[in-house]
């Protein structure tokens, strides 16, 4: 019982469980991408709960735990639940989320009632049926695994073949209809795929948490990419990884239910993604804001040197921290940090009398001053904003204008000489 045994897959039972868990998790993640993008993530929750009565009914009728029967039963009730949600929403004033919650709880209640009745019926074959609730990967053996894996493969193939069509109904159903796509049929296909994904997953994950396998990998993948193909592959990979880790934990501690562990792993991956993903992650966006803050501070310091230079006619006079603070009250430690950084970047130099512009520093400070005044002029001329109200806005915009916008701004205003406050607009000569 160690990790080498586990990874080498030398034990055929382990091999079954691991491959099975990964395949199940990956295939539901793939389908989940489409339901997530269609903003129907919670529908998966309803299907997941609704397969329970189907499984129980199949068992009651057949009296055996044959995976084929159980899947057929699960498929029927899972599908029925989606049809009923649509029907209730279309034919009454009940809204979709209420209909989902309603069908979910009622079907699940029916399932639980049947399950408890079966458990008390004394049929010995029923043991293990309750694994459907929370999932037990270890119970995936032989026949089960072959059937579930086959469905997973069918599902993946179906998505590959119908990729374009599924993508378009997930993105813009109205457009799909307008270009003559059989939208109803495709919706039906997506519904069927959702039900199939749930049906294959329940043995390992359990009906209660199956929704997570549809939603969470897709949500995590969405944070890393905006390309649908990449998103699907990534979701599948993350799903499979969580399946692997979940199976391993359940292998080490058989008393642990597999489903919750797989869900815990994928949830942690997703939450890490929410924070760490490039571009969309919370932390990255937070750092970006911090960077802007520093950029603004530094540019404001350079601008200030320019303004002080305008007053005494010499841009290269050294200034002390006190002189700077007198003109504009920065936070003391931030100002000092900014000055040191600007020196490192070659925009300022420190002399015995204080800080002074370098050539590059003056060029940059002048540009910011120019952008500030140009934008003030633009606001008064084109937006009719009073001259005494344009400063605050220009304080922000001066930091974001690109060289291309700068050129257009100059042309649009025809290289004006003065800003609304009669200060000269400095052009680079």
């Amino acid at each position: 019982m160690n990790i080498v045994d586990f990874i080498s897959l030398s034990d055929p039972n382990v091999r079954f469980v691991v491959i099975g868990s990964m395949l199940l998790a990956a295939s539901s993640a793939i389908v989940g991408c489409f339901t997530l993008l269609k903003k129907k993530a919670l529908v998966g929750d309803a299907v997941a709960h609704s397969v329970l009565p189907g499984v129980c009914l199949a068992f009651l009728l057949s009296g055996v735990k044959n995976p084929v029967f159980l899947i057929i039963g699960a498929f029927i009730t899972g599908w029925l639940s989606l049809v009923l949600i649509d029907f209730i929403t279309a034919r009454s004033k009940i809204k979709e989320d209420t209909a989902i919650g309603l069908i979910l709880s009622v079907f699940f209640g029916i399932g639980i009632l049947m399950l408890t009745v079966i458990q008390k019926s004394g049929n010995a074959a029923q043991s293990g049926l309750d694994h459907f609730l929370f999932g037990q990967a270890a119970s995936l053996v032989g026949m089960d695994l072959i059937v579930f894996s086959a469905i997973s493969l069918i599902l993946i193939i179906a998505v590959v073949i119908c990729y374009k069509e599924l993508a378009i109904i997930a993105f813009d159903e109205g457009f799909a209809q307008s270009i003559g796509f059989p939208v109803r049929a495709l919706e039906l296909l997506l519904t069927t795929l959702t039900v199939l994904a749930v049906v294959t997953g329940i043995q390992a994950i359990g009906v209660v948490l199956m929704a997570a396998m549809l939603i969470t990998p897709a949500a995590a993948a969405r944070f890393w990419t905006s390309n649908l193909k990449v998103m699907i592959l990534l979701a599948a990979a993350l799903g499979a990884l969580s399946g692997l880790i979940g199976a391993y934990i359940s292998y080490l501690a058989p008393a642990m239910p597999t489903g919750p562990w797989i869900v815990m792993v994928i949830s942690l991956i997703a939450i890490l993604s929410f924070f760490l993903a490039p571009q969309k992650g919370i932390l990255v966006r937070w750092f970006k804001q911090k960077n802007f803050q520093t950029q603004m501070l530094e540019e404001n310091i350079l601008k200030l040197f320019y303004q002080l230079g305008e007053i005494n006619g010499n841009f290269y006079t050294p200034r002390t921290v006190e002189q700077i603070m007198e003109r504009r009250p920065f936070q003391d430690f931030r100002l000092r940090k900014g000055l040191i950084k600007l020196k490192r970047q070659g925009y300022l130099e420190s002399t015995s009398q204080g800080w002074a512009y370098t050539q590059a520093g003056k060029t940059k400070g002048q540009r910011i001053t120019k952008l500030h005044r140009l934008w003030e002029l633009y606001l008064t001329e084109y937006l009719r904003i009073a001259p005494d109200h344009v400063h605050e806005d220009a304080e922000t915009i001066e930091h974001i204008i690109t060289p291309e916008l700068e050129k257009r701004l100059e042309e649009k205003l025809e290289y004006p000489r003065l800003d609304p406050h009669q200060s000269e607009i400095p052009y680079h000569k």
């Binding site: 639980i112 009632l113 919750p260």
Partner: protein
Amino acid sequence: MDAFWIILAGLLVAIPCGLLGCYLILRNMAMVGDAISHAVLPGIVIAFFVSGSREPVSMLLGAGILGIITTFIIEFFHAKARLQTDAAIGVTFTWLFALGVILISVFAGKVDLDQDCVLYGEIAYVPIDLWITSSGKIMGPRVIYIMGVVFLVVLSFILVGYKELFLTTFDPAFAAASGIYISVWHYLLMGAVSFTTVGAFESVGAILVVAFLIVPPATAYLLTDNFKKMMIITAILGFMVSFGGYYLAVWLDGSIAGAMTVVAGLLFGIVFVRQLAGRRMSYGL
């Protein structure tokens, strides 16, 4: 006598859940209710573990806090990570529920809770789980007291805040413009849902909580155009569900919580089909 206690327990769960559910479904927040009812599980387990018993105060507190945290996490994912709402709900509650089930397995033996109980409760044990005072006096079923308190708290919350809850549900923009703090009422409502869920969880489990939150209010919504009547009908349906569910379970010898859900579903089905038929007739005229 057992039947009486069980039906009473069911009723004491059904009414507060149903009344709060009326607001949830009109705010299009039914699934948030579902999410909270699942997500309080780790709070319950931790409270069990810490207090070492089924001491109701720490349990209500622990899980009640977790319910509010759930709402915050969902909103955090939505606002800060810009995750679409349905995905934020789905990710949050499955994660917390998984955590709860794992904690139960970890603390197995230390905590008197099992996975099945989480799902469909132990309402059948209500009559034998008695509150016995330190002097040895038998006060009757414990759950009845807990749910009695929950029932009174929820009822007084709705009586006090009726106007504000009604207005913030119907027209939040107008409510805010009239000087009502809509987010305060939002969190109070979510707090009430968590509180009720926790109280009900132990006796009837997660499914019945969701069923009581959503199914009777949805049924009542189809039966009336008047909000006050909707709440009264919900309460009546709650009684029918507890009563009918209990006897169905006895007859089939199955889970009482499951049977109550089935009865709630049947009542909804009847009302829904009748409404469909009614519509067809009025179109025919």
